[in-house]
């Protein structure tokens, strides 16, 4: 009788647990809004993208997971919208995720051949991904940096170009590809490389010498390229002549993985900086030649974006203690006006504005 009792208890638990049904992935309406790119905590794989609908002022958290039914499982370093594709450059796991920009459905993923990928730019059907290389735990540096070309129609790797120094951001301007060579912490790079490509194979056409630590690049309304460097310089390059036209020094910056953006009209630059033991946003119009006082100050600033209504978005990482927030300011007037703060995922580091 006691033996039967044992089996009875065992069986009753089996019935009680049963099977859990998986909820079908939620289908999202196609909306115009802001994609908040959340980097995630280093090595925790909790990077995510949120969709904030500007009309209804509602946020859908982690649309990758809800739309595709599985976790992203990586940190997102940078993201790009190109035509109807949304590209996510991910670390740990190193991969490039390609999504449909309106439905966020996964179209393809490249999981091999990348080593700490950082940024991506697209020309035609080719995506060019800058890679820091493999982390070396003896030297605390990255070995074998490279730029990898991916064919976006079949997600195959078309070419791999080894470079000498750690590449950071990449931008396609007309038919040329510009890459900032930020280098390492103690030995920063001093060049912006220019490439042309033939069926995805890159060949270098020039190296433009710039102040140390060139990091972020944007293009302005005049077609010029602005480069922000980790050592505190803002430089304007003419992409046709490939020459530095203007250099501004003693610019407040973060010092590592710079965050800079330009408004959709291409007139006004905004970037994050370390300031007074915390952070601040600085701004400068492209016609100006001096940086004014800090526009907005605060702590834990990690991402920046500005939309066509001159609303400034600042990603705030809450010291990586859980999910962060997005601070918003109206910067169209003489002084910034604070708007409603949005909830975000873990360490929001960037924004993409969808039409």
């Amino acid at each position: 009788m006691k033996r039967n009792l044992h089996f009875f208890i065992l069986l009753s638990f089996l019935f009680w647990v049963g099977c859990k049904d998986q909820d079908p992935p939620q289908v999202l309406p196609e909306v115009a809004g802001v994609v908040i790119v959340n980097e995630g905590n280093f090595l925790s794989g909790d990077g995510s993208i949120d969709l904030f609908d500007l009309e209804t002022e509602t946020r859908q958290a982690d649309v990758f997971q809800t739309k595709n039914g599985f976790a992203l499982g990586a940190n997102i370093q940078n993201a790009l919208v190109h035509e109807d594709l949304l590209l996510l450059v991910c670390n740990a796991t190193d991969k490039l995720e390609v999504l449909d920009a309106t439905t966020f459905q996964s179209l393809g993923v490249v999981e091999e051949g990348l080593a700490t990928p950082f940024d991506v730019a697209v020309a035609g059907k080719y995506a060019f991904v800058t890679n820091w290389g493999t982390f070396n735990s003896e030297t605390f540096a990255y070995d074998d940096p490279k730029i990898v070309t991916i064919n976006l129609t079949d997600y195959s790797i078309v070419a791999t170009l080894r470079v000498e120094i750690q590449p950071q951001h990449i931008l396609v301007v007309e038919n040329q590809i510009f890459v900032t060579n930020v280098g390492g912490w103690s030995s920063p790079g001093t060049t912006v490389s220019v490439f042309s490509h033939q069926n995805g194979a890159l060949s270098k056409t020039a190296d433009i010498t710039v102040p140390a630590g060139p990091d972020r690049l944007v293009t302005d309304k005049n077609g010029k390229i602005w480069v922000l460097s980790t050592r505190g310089h803002l430089v304007r390059i003419d992409p046709v002549s490939r020459e530095v036209e203007f250099t501004l020094s003693d610019v407040p910056v973060l010092g590592f993985n710079e965050k800079m953006t330009i408004d959709p009209s291409g007139d006004r630059l905004f970037w994050l900086a370390s300031h007074d033991e915390a952070n601040a946003v600085f701004t400068m119009r492209v016609a100006e030649s001096q940086v004014g006082a800090a526009l907005v100050s605060g702590s834990n600033f990690y991402g920046i974006g500005v939309d066509e209504n001159e609303t400034l978005y600042i990603g705030e990482h809450a010291a990586f203690q859980g999910n962060g927030s997005v601070l918003r300011y109206d910067v169209g007037g003489a002084t910034p006006q604070s708007l409603e703060t949005l909830a975000a995922g873990r360490a929001p580091n960037g924004f993409l504005f969808l039409k």
């Binding site: 647990v17 990586a74 010291a319 859980g322 999910n323 927030s325």
Partner: protein, 614 residues
């Protein structure tokens, strides 16, 4: 005198007639402190597991497992973090001083003869760190005469191969024992990913070690010397979907402990000297090396009939070779304590403890504790007690928090806590059955918790967080001594561990700490009939939030394991064969976010024991 919450030891313990020197003086002083000892039968069945696996499977403690067997496993005790619990071997801390936590995957149950859990803020009894609790392990519980042998071999799914061998010999005044073990597993189990599956990569683990232990006793004195050398090489299991990682970790731990007990005319004098060397290498890095020497002295006597007084202290000197610390980082620590315990009335025991800790460069507080046991009914068939404990505790900053370059904060204050708990304990027995049950409620207030926040260009730990914890624990066991024998045991823990601080994350205020499950429960059913035995364990861990604003969570999970065993007995010898099924329902679960866990898997184990008493 005070109620030790021991689940009744099984009759079939192989080692007979041992003269047991009390494992820890604390069974006398723990009025109010909740104590739980893992019984020897369960220890025997879990022999091939790690301490982490056993605690997660069978107790109300939540163990975070960063993947399958062999991966880092750390404990959350009463709603706190892994920094708030200390693991002690023979009374010596074996937490990593750099990280401030212990990795329970590297403690093989095969070596352990006693596992005792002290829940609650027992800092005053044990020193720094026990805000959540204290786990005591002993690899040698007593002197054994004659020759004894034990051999264990287990083979299982995913390349599991565990071996253990032990020999002991005791004669006249000497008892010497040695144990060696080797455990390896490939962990190439299927992982579900994006609609298909792949075999888990880079998660293999291998550990081996040896333990030598010698007891010498002469008249009123006893010497005990133990040396434990342990090595652990493992690949670090990557996130689900990462098939290219080749990261790995290597640990070498050497632990030596010498103890002397001297029964003097009016008291007991105990001295100890230990040396612990912990080394860890990540990939090809230069590694972290930490060396500690700890000496301790304790004197216990009885000032009045029915009362005990114990006083003593420990002194520790620590040196490091860690690339990221300012060079030649070393630290001394010391603490002194006083414990007074006795019967205030025939139905009431009290214990009062006072401890003061000194640490180089750190101001540590006094930690007093007061506890009492009231015996509301003391009889042959039913005993019923009410225990209460109030205590102040602290957790000293870790070496990483103080000395990491850049960002370490040498001015970091210790975390402090106050706690109260109260519980009712029942034990009863009939002609052929016995049972125990307990219900404990607790509240803990922790302040000055250290959080790493950006400070200029670097990150630095700062004392900013405050957490309020409250919860309930309940435990019960029922045993039937007829034929077949049957035992049912279970526990359920409810924990609310709430962050009080709005900085640095306003949305984390009022929320449950990450990786503290609100509910955890276990049910065990053990039956034996003649030579056969069947043990089933149902272990349920509730939903856990994976981040502090509680906006991401991992679902709760249930893991069921069943073990069928058969015993062959001869004079002085015993052979036990065991067949086990783990994760019977093939649950697809994650203990820690994005670390895959194996589905249903099997193992076969043979255990041989020989005991020749003179």
């Amino acid at each position: 005198m005070s109620c030790c919450l021991c689940v009744a030891a099984q009759e079939d313990t192989i080692f007979l007639d041992q003269v047991v020197i009390p494992g820890s003086f604390l069974t006398t002083y723990d009025a109010g402190v909740e104590v739980k000892q893992v019984d020897s039968a369960r220890l025997f069945l879990a022999q091939a597991q790690s301490l982490g696996d056993l605690l997660q499977q069978q107790t109300g403690l939540y163990l975070r497992q960063y993947g399958a067997e062999g991966q880092n496993t750390s404990v959350s005790f009463r709603g706190t973090t892994p920094y708030h619990t200390i693991l002690q071997w023979n009374g010596v801390d074996i937490n990593s001083p750099s990280l401030g936590q212990a990795d329970f995957s590297g403690i093989p149950v095969f070596l352990l003869e006693e596992i005792t859990l002290y829940r609650g803020g027992a800092s005053s009894l044990f020193g720094s760190g026990s805000i959540g609790g204290n786990i005591q392990i002993r690899t040698r519980s007593g002197f054994r005469q004659g020759l004894s042998l034990v051999a264990m071999q287990q083979v299982g799914s995913f390349g599991k191969w565990h071996s253990g061998l032990g020999v002991g010999y005791g004669w006249r005044r000497w008892s010497i024992a040695a144990k060696a073990y080797h455990q390896q597993i490939e962990n190439d189990f299927p992982v579900r990913y994006r609609g298909s599956s792949y075999l888990q990569n880079n998660a293999a683990s291998e550990q081996q070690g040896v333990l030598l232990s010698t007891i010498y006793r002469a008249g009123r004195q006893q010497w005990l010397f133990e040396v434990w050398y342990h090595q652990h090489q493992r690949a670090l299991q990557p996130l689900i979907g990462n098939r290219t990682s080749t990261d790995g970790l290597r640990d070498h731990n050497l632990r030596m402990n010498l103890r002397h007990q001297w029964h003097l005319r009016h008291g007991l004098l105990e001295s100890s000297l230990s040396h612990i060397r912990d080394q860890q290498w990540y990939n090809n890095g230069s590694g972290t090396h930490i060396y500690r020497t700890v000496s301790g002295m304790d004197y216990e006597m009885s000032p009045l009939a029915g009362w005990q007084l114990r006083t003593g202290g420990t002194w520790q000197w620590l040196t490091t070779e860690v690339a990221n610390y300012t060079s030649d980082t070393s630290q001394w620590r010391s603490d002194q304590y006083l414990l007074l315990s006795g019967a205030l009335f025939s139905w009431m025991d009290v214990a009062f403890t006072l401890r003061k800790n000194w640490m180089q460069g750190v101001k540590a507080p006094f930690t007093p504790a007061l506890g009492w046991d009231l015996w509301l009914k003391k009889g042959q068939t039913l005993r019923w007690a009410w225990k209460t404990l109030a205590s102040a505790n602290f957790r000293a900053p870790t070496l990483n928090e103080l000395f990491w370059e850049p960002g370490g904060n040498p001015l970091l204050r210790p975390e402090r806590s106050k706690g109260v708990e109260t519980g009712w304990y029942f034990t009863g027995n009939g002609k052929r059955e016995s049972w125990t049950a307990s219900l404990t409620g607790f509240r803990t207030w922790v302040r000055d918790m250290a959080i790493w926040v950006p400070s200029g260009q670097y990150w630095s730990p700062t004392n900013i967080q405050e957490v309020h914890i409250h919860g309930l624990e309940t435990d019960a066991a029922w045993e039937w001594q007829g034929e077949p024998k049957l035992k049912v045991w279970g526990n359920w823990t409810f924990t609310r561990s709430i962050n009080q601080t709005a900085f640095p994350n306003a949305r984390a205020q009022g929320k449950q700490l990450a990786y503290v499950p609100v509910h955890k429960s276990t049910l065990g059913v053990v039956s034996s009939y003649r030579r056969w035995g069947l043990q089933s364990i149902f272990s349920h861990t509730g939903k856990r939030f994976t981040e502090s604003a509680n906006e991401r969570a991992l679902e709760g999970f249930m893991v069921i394991s069943c073990t069928l065993s058969h015993t062959w007995d001869w004079p002085r010898q015993r052979l036990v064969g065991q067949l086990a099924i783990e994760n019977l329902l093939n649950a697809d679960y994650q203990n820690y976010e994005l670390r895959a866990m194996p589905g249903r898997h099997f193992s076969l184990k043979i255990n041989y024991q020989f005991q020749n008493n003179q």
